[in-house]
Amino acid sequence: MDDILRIENVSFRYDDEDVLQHIDFRIPRGAFVGLVGPNGSGKSTLLKCILRLLKPQTGRIFLFDTPIEQFKDWHKIGFVSQKANSFNTGFPATVYEVVASGLTGKLGLFRRLKKSDEKAVYEAIDAVGMSPFVHRNIGELSGGQQQRVFIARAIVSKPEFLILDEPTVGVDVHHVQSFYDMLEQLNKHHHMTLLLVTHDIGTITEKVTHVACLNKHLHFHGSVQQFAQLKTEDVASFYGHHLHLLAHDHV
């Protein structure tokens, strides 16, 4: 089996509230998975479990076919949080410094950046189109530009698996499309496996290869073609309200 991620019967509860119930889920290598669900559906909790920031009460999680408790190669995983607009914008750090910090896990303790690492930093910044801003302070950039920097930080260690948690929150509409194009590029040309968490169910169906719908339970998990055949009512029933998602399929 060549699964990047395998989740078996995972349940998670905060105090007395069930957040995730019996989740079974797998991501094959090379996939671009869109994980969608309404607010409060447990998307972020599931991500935190995958990143070992939270420990589920039951079930098992495998990363690269290794049980998560024994998993050591965290540099194979890149992570972009939705934090772009909530981080300390007064923080005195340049784009270069922020992106270079993405190598921390890969380098390990007491190691400093080598020439090849510095090259990788410039390449990552170039890949997200932020080269003109290398030595600017991160706080001086727009929300969309900051998010690109965070993508660069996530890909600088050349991860095989990139996880993005609502990356387009706070990014203005004009830049969302080019942002998704960039993700498609990473998936197709750099062979990165992507897991994109979003509540924006419409736009992503053009880009992803697989869709998973989460609302405490996993309601649907399959290829984007299968997803397109779902009836609007089915999706709306799990989402809890009506959606205009199919409109995007005709674009």
């Binding site: 920031l53 005195p92 410094e97 190598l103 921390t104 400093r112 930080r153």
Partner: protein
Amino acid sequence: MLEALFQYEFLRNAFIVGIFIGFIAPLLGVFVVVRRLSLIADALSHVTLAGIAASLLLQKKWLTTATLNPIYIGMAFSVAGSLFIEKLRTVYKHYQELAIPIILSGGIGLSVIFISLADGFNTDLFSYLFGSVSAVSRVDVWTIGIIFFIVLTIILLFYKEWFILSFDEEYAQASGVKVKTLHFVFIVLVALVIAASMRIVGILLVSSLMTLPVAASIRIAKGFKQALCFSVLFGEMAVIFGLIVSYHLNLAPGGTIVLLAVFILIGAIMWKKWKRG
């Protein structure tokens, strides 16, 4: 001045210690400020005061401890205080800043009791409160020198981990950085630096040496490394000129240093405004 520096050992000691703390206090202060922990320095300095008061009381009541330098007991209190703050921050997860006033008032309470038991203020205590040039002994120079090297070494070793921890704690955790251990080391270092700095600038003014040069530097710095360099530069400027001015004009060194740091801060703010046009 230079002549006096060669002539009097106490003045030499004060300058050496001043240069040490003028370096490490703002350097560590950058991490303190960007993590929005500025007030921790204040809380810990008041706990340090309790330690100093305790050792002065011991000296007065039991002469055998007279050889024990108050700075050691001050340090022990400061480090213990830092551990309490960490504990309280986990107890009050949603009110993390609450740990600071708790420790601060606890520290003052203890100090006042120790001071009253020792029958009130004496000149020694006064010099710890407001800093003093003449009080710096050779033992202090050695102790503070060792702290200087410890702090510098640890910052160099863990630079990239502390950077990522300060910038984005969740991301640091997700990339496998040992967040808890690093934070623990960090807070203990802050406690040590505060205890070390109080000799010159005094307990009541210690926190300013960790925050004022940093406040000035983040106004004008491009990037984190530059912020570190400017902070150290401003810190050293304030300490060295502060000591010279206070010597010539016979002023309290702590106050002079802090006022110079305030002037530098105002200068940095105005420079930034002027540059923006």
